[in-house]
């Protein structure tokens, strides 16, 4: 099964990755060979088999709903690339036409 249908530009958009256009062909070649390989799963009969999402045999893990102090606010903010008033993370405009700042 050939997988010429991998549209690298489209998948990169979904993944929010800006890639140089000249790399598309090489990436597509790599991905196609991997996808051809994983397509071998088509031959396995999985009728009636439940999917495994997780290895741990745990479900409905609860804890008490108690507020706790993380005490990490300043250290977390110290990693931000850009701050306003020392306490708000600054980003570029979110919506078109919006005032920045």
């Amino acid at each position: 099964m050939a997988n010429s249908d991998i549209n690298v530009k489209y998948v990169a958009e979904l993944a929010r990755l800006e890639l140089p256009a000249e790399q598309f062909a090489a990436i597509e070649k790599d991905l196609s060979s991997i996808v051809d390989y994983i397509a071998e799963l088509n031959e396995v009969d999985v009728t009636g088999v439940e999917p495994t999402a997780h290895a741990a045999a745990l479900s409905n893990v609860w804890r008490e709903d108690e507020a706790v102090e993380s005490g990490l606010r300043d250290a977390m903010l110290a990693n931000a690339p850009d701050l306003v008033n020392g306490c708000l993370v600054k980003v570029s405009k979110v919506l078109p036409g919006e005032e920045s700042n």
Binding site: E18, D30, Y37, V49, L72
Partner: protein
């Protein structure tokens, strides 16, 4: 010179107890070893000597007052760069996170500190733990200390190299598809992947959440047991961490090392693992292991894991799908290297496109593709179902044996640049990844040298869920007799 950096954790603990040496002397010998040897190996991305010596002085002061946190108080542990240590960078060997400083300790690290262990440096790795050779680090390769023209394995390549080069007695790595066991085999050290949920993943930067597990790399099996006992146990901060007390695997390993017997144990050899081509050196090491196990009273039987041939495909669907979701959080808004664009979404595109390396981008794209509309059922859901069949294979096999005996890798450590095709690189993970899909435990132990390359060869013992005591007891007995 006592060369304390060359000693095991348990030997260092004895000397600390008897007053033969201090925590500061241990730290200094390790720092000297790094200074003298790491220019060639490049196991560490960073080592904060002042911080380590300060913590060693505090440890000595505690011990002098009779207030040592455990017999291991003052022993350094190298930490892989995807495991958070408070006030240290946690870059995952990625340009995107190069200057990010962790505000907190991972639970595994906090547990080490509770016993007095001292976090020592940031160990190199494949970016975001994606790779089998350490060639995918954004900050330069790590070399195999046994032959610096060869890879140390990956993704915990720095963790394995640091132990093999005697920079530190023991390190933490993480294993998503073999990332502890494969570099351990390539570098000739011991590497343990615990049962999924044995060790909290809080503070481990997520790659594939249903597969990731933190574990030790060490000079011997007892040391791996000591570290597992220290880092394991329930954690309210990780809901997938099993509600169990810490393990008691070191005592089991010690018993194995002293008893030197495998009587009463049956080892299954999965026939599918021996159908492909094994390098002569790997085959020879396995033959030697089989003879030794028999001589020690163990029984060898052939078992079958019929879905083995699909494990690589299942793994690279599930792991990349989970990775594409986990790495979506790296948007350079609250932390990370931001490249400003015209608007917020453009900032995401630019920062992520420039910040991630080529292997990480390849896996995010593959994971995004298999989860995308129209392909989810064919790839991701199908892979989850075949994962169920792979787990069942192991359940069936353990009806006939106590542990499995397998190769770790098809061949010993390869040379830099030797494997440039991504698929060929993925296929070399065939013997390690099924264990992560099953969520069970396994250990790689040295089993000889390859005549052709002069490189070490590892063998792997695998066990069912929570069978670490049985696993480490057998591995320690094997190691003690092999010498």
């Amino acid at each position: 010179m006592a060369e304390l950096n060359k000693k095991t954790v348990h030997a260092l603990a004895e000397g600390l107890a008897s007053g033969s040496w201090s925590a500061v002397e241990i730290a200094q010998d390790c720092l000297d070893a790094v200074k003298n040897g790491d220019e060639k190996v490049h196991a560490f991305l960073k080592v904060d000597a002042e911080q380590i010596l300060a913590e060693a002085r505090e440890s000595d002061a505690r011990r002098a007052k009779g207030a040592a946190r455990s017999e291991y108080d003052g022993i350094p542990v190298g930490i892989k760069d995807n495991i958070a240590v408070r006030n240290a960078t946690v870059s995952c060997a990625s340009k995107l996170l190069e200057n990010v400083v962790s505000p907190y300790d991972a639970t595994a690290v906090a547990n080490l500190r509770a016993k007095g262990f001292i976090p020592f440096g940031r160990l190199n790795m494949d970016e975001f733990a994606m790779g089998s050779s350490c060639e995918n680090s954004a900050f330069g390769k790590t070399a195999n200390p046994r032959d610096i023209t060869r890879v140390p394995g990956g993704s915990s390549g720095g963790s394995a190299a640091a132990v093999a080069a005697d920079f530190v007695p023991v390190t933490l790595g993480s294993d998503t598809g073999g990332s502890i066991r494969q570099p351990a085999a390539f570098c000739g050290v011991v590497g343990l992947k615990p049962t999924y949920g044995r060790v909290s993943r809080y503070g481990l930067v997520a790659f594939a959440s249903s597969l990731d597990q933190i574990g030790p790399l060490s000079k011997d099996v007892i040391d791996s047991g000591i570290i597992l006992d220290a880092i394991s146990g329930k954690d309210a901060k990780d809901s997938t961490c099993l509600p169990l007390e810490p393990s008691a695997a070191a005592a089991a390993a010690l018993e194995g090392a002293q008893g030197r017997s495998l009587a009463g144990l049956t080892f299954g050899m999965p026939k599918e693992y021996f159908s492909g081509t094994l390098a002569p050196g790997v085959a020879k090491a396995l033959d030697g292991a089989i003879e030794q196990i028999k001589a020690m009273g163990g029984k060898i039987v052939e078992v079958s894991l019929p879905h083995t041939k699909y494990a690589v495909a299942v793994y690279y669907i599930i792991a990349t799908a989970e990775a594409s979701a986990n790495l979506a959080r790296f948007d350079a808004v609250r932390y990370g290297k931001r490249i400003d664009g015209a608007d917020l979404i453009d900032t995401y595109f630019k920062s992520r496109g420039a910040g991630f390396g080529s292997e990480v981008i390849r896996r995010i794209l593959l994971g995004t593709y298999v989860l995308s509309s129209g392909y989810y059922d064919a790839y991701y859901l199908k892979a989850q179902k075949v994962r169920t069949l792979i787990r069942k294979d192991f359940t069936e096999a353990y009806k006939q044996c106590d542990l499995l005996l397998t190769p770790v890798t098809p061949a010993p450590a390869f040379k830099f640049g030797e494997k440039s095709d991504p698929l060929q690189m993925y296929l070399s993970d065939i013997f390690t990844i099924a264990l992560n899909l099953a969520g069970q435990c396994g250990i790689s132990v040295p089993a000889g040298m390859d005549d052709a390359t002069g490189m070490p060869v590892g063998i792997q013992f695998l066990g069912p869920e929570l069978a670490e005591n049985r696993l480490l007891k057998a591995a320690a007995a094997f190691e003690a007799v092999r010498g």
